[in-house]
């Protein structure tokens, strides 16, 4: 016998697996169709959301925008469906400008507050938290989002009230003088925390904080440790590394987070109603104008303001290079 393979050693041709496997029914045929036309599956998958986004979402937004170019008849209270910029001119009245300015200032302050408080949390979570600690971090950030928004806001009203937990605790540690000094500050102060701009700000920051932390943490997580080491290796102090490496690379996250906190504050109409000075904000104006006042065009014009502000904000962020590291 030689070592050469014999017919008996090799499997008979009939017993070998076929080069092309048999058809396995309709699902198989469908797969083949998609394989031959790769665009088809993508089109089928994207069509429903595109319809939803294009028709229902953007369509209603367009309808809203169209409303803002109409005006209301002062006598009948009916909408005059003719193109006019009069409604927008009304926005420029001092009282309305005040509302816009107040809302934008609050949104900016809330965004700054969220960024300052959120950054260390996000940094810690991205850099040091592992395993169980990371799970605990996500739980801690997301848990407040699972409970009702209204419940949280009313809880804060009680916490910040004149006889609330905060003043009680402050009194307990003998720091009432500090709280009173803070409340005595012009503009942001007030009778109590729950009836001051400061209180509104605190609640806004609390409610929107997760929306700032999560994108910041995601951005920071993508910064490899070796970049921080390279920076130190090249002679940078911690602060220089933070300023020239960490912060620029975290900017897309900060920008994304601030888009959330900024736009959510611009549009909110509940928190300023419950906690604060009862001064009006854009969201509240929209709510009141389309409801009790029945002035849909002005409500629409007010609703356009945050959209324009956000577009300008995004454009500025892009120009400042916030998305360069994406």
């Amino acid at each position: 016998m030689t070592a050469a393979p014999t017919a008996a050693a090799a499997p008979a041709p009939a017993a070998r697996a076929p080069a092309v496997l048999p058809d396995r029914g309709p699902g198989d045929r469908l797969s083949r169709t998609f394989w031959r036309r790769p665009g088809l599956l993508t089109a089928l998958l994207i069509a429903p959301p595109l319809l939803w986004l294009g028709v229902v979402y953007l369509g209603s937004l367009a309808a809203l925008l169209a409303q803002s170019f109409f005006s209301i008849d002062p006598f009948s209270g009916l909408t005059v469906r003719e193109f006019t910029l009069a409604t927008y001119a009304e926005l420029l009245k001092p009282a309305n400008l005040d509302i816009i300015l107040r809302t934008v200032t609050m949104a900016a302050a809330v965004t700054a507050g969220c960024a300052l408080i959120g950054f260390p949390v996000a940094y810690f979570a991205a850099r040091y938290a592992r395993g169980r600690w990371k799970a605990l971090f996500y739980l801690g950030i997301l848990l407040p989002l699972w409970s009702s928004y209204l419940v949280k806001v009313y809880a804060w009203k009680l916490i910040l009230a004149k006889e609330g937990i905060v003043s009680w605790a402050v009194e307990g540690i003998g720091a009432s003088a500090i709280l009173n000094a803070v409340l005595a500050l012009p503009v942001i102060g007030g009778n109590s925390l729950s009836t001051s701009y400061l209180g509104t700000w605190i609640v806004f920051v609390y409610v929107w904080l997760p929306y700032m932390i999560l994108p910041m943490q995601a951005a920071l997580e993508r910064v490899p440790v070796s970049l921080l080491e390279a920076s130190a290796d090249l002679g940078a102090t911690r602060w220089q590394t933070f300023r020239t490496v960490v912060l620029p690379l975290a900017m897309p996250g900060v920008a994304a987070g601030s888009i959330f906190t900024f736009s959510l504050t611009l549009g909110d109409y509940i928190i300023p109603q419950i906690v604060g000075t009862s001064a009006r904000f854009i969201g509240l104006m929209v709510y009141q104008l389309q409801g009790t006042a029945g002035n849909i065009p002005l409500a629409a014009a007010f609703a356009v303001v945050p959209i324009v502000i956000m577009l300008v904000y995004l454009w500025l962020a892009k120009r400042r290079g916030a998305f360069d590291a994406l």
């Binding site: 490899p224 070796s226 970049l227 080491e229 390279a230 920076s231 130190a232 290796d233 090249l234 002679g235 940078a236 102090t237 220089q240 020239t244 490496v245 620029p248 690379l249 290079g321 360069d324 590291a325």
Partner: protein
């Protein structure tokens, strides 16, 4: 010995919990030397590099850089720069800004540092790439940028952490030549970490072979290659035969574990030698062919240079060893 060593390790240990990553290492790297730290992954070579750069602090022992104890010196104050394994280029900065980074954090004015960065880019043969982003470069180009960025500070010691690992073979060989030439020209001490023995042998003036957090052997490439101190070194460097004492004595060698280079084994017709075996397998390597021979005491590999006649599998062959081919090693593993 009047010259202060560039880097000196005295019984340095670095433990991570119960893991002894570095466990009692003594090392001396001379100024101007191209020093390689060679070893398998997890052998402690990278930790040693990080101990020099300052990203790790020793659990015990002392590290001196040009005579100065650096136990309390943070990385940013050590005049030592690193070429990172993943290059660690800043993605948000241009290539020129990357290279100028070390000068920027030291407060060198913009004009000067940009000019210096351009000089460095010319040195690494990327003169026209200053305005690009790292993301637009190939792996080899990034590697050069990382090198330029590390050299711009004129470090006393340049550390290279597997810098050629991510490059393809052709590029790696070209970079090996360039790194060597650059090191000669600048006269800076290079400490180079690699797991590639041929890279270490071809580039280094001296090398340390790491195993299990310890240095198994330090020496010139020729010393380490020809006279491995332990079985580990013999196995890791080159492709030696490692023969037990019984095999060694049968071949006329000492009664100890010995290493035997395949190129020291010559094949002759079977009746011309008392040492005989049967050819099991041949492996073509280009410059030669590795012949695997079954001997009565075990297996042996011989390297037949290209051009010489080759046996066929199953043939009986005799073997003749070059003088002093059997090199005894310490009994340890």
């Amino acid at each position: 010995m009047s010259m202060t060593p560039a880097v000196e390790f005295q019984s340095v240990a670095r433990h991570f919990g119960t893991v002894r990553a570095v466990d009692g290492v003594d090392l001396t790297v001379a100024e101007g030397e191209f020093f390689a730290m060679l070893g398998p992954s997890g052998s402690g070579k990278t930790t040693c590099l990080r101990l020099i750069s300052g990203f790790e602090r020793p659990t015990a022992g002392s590290i001196r850089i040009f005579g100065q104890d650096v136990s309390r010196v943070p990385p940013h104050r050590r005049n030592v720069n690193t070429v990172f394994q993943d290059y660690a280029l800043f993605p948000h900065l241009t290539v020129r800004e990357n290279v100028a980074y070390g000068l920027m954090v030291k407060g060198v004015d913009r004009r000067t540092r940009m000019a210096r960065a351009d000089e460095m880019l010319a040195l690494v043969k990327l003169p026209d790439y200053g305005d690009r982003r790292p993301g637009q470069l190939s792996g080899g180009q990034r590697q050069r940028v990382a090198l330029a960025r590390a050299l711009v500070n004129e470090p006393r010691v340049l550390l290279l952490d597997e810098p050629l690992g991510a490059l393809d073979l052709k590029l790696r060989e070209a970079m090996q030549d360039e790194l060597k030439a650059l090191q000669r020209r600048l006269g800076i001490t290079f400490v180079f970490v690699t797991h590639d023995q041929s890279e270490a042998l071809s580039m280094a003036d001296r090398l340390a072979v790491f195993n299990d957090g310890r240095v198994a052997q330090v020496g010139t490439p020729a010393e380490v290659y020809n006279t491995p101190r332990t079985r580990f070194v013999a196995g890791f460097v080159g492709s030696s035969n490692i023969l037990p004492p019984a095999f060694s004595t049968a071949l006329g060698g000492p009664a100890a574990w010995v290493s035997l280079r395949p190129e020291s084994v010559r094949l002759v017709p079977w009746d011309r030698s008392v040492h005989r075996g049967a050819v099991r397998d041949l492996r073509f390597l280009g410059a030669g062919t590795r012949v695997q021979i079954d001997m009565p005491q075990g297996e042996l590999a011989a390297l037949v240079p290209a051009g010489l006649p080759l046996p066929a599998p199953g043939d009986s062959v005799g073997i003749v060893l070059a003088p002093n081919a059997l090199h005894p090693m310490e009994g340890e593993a």
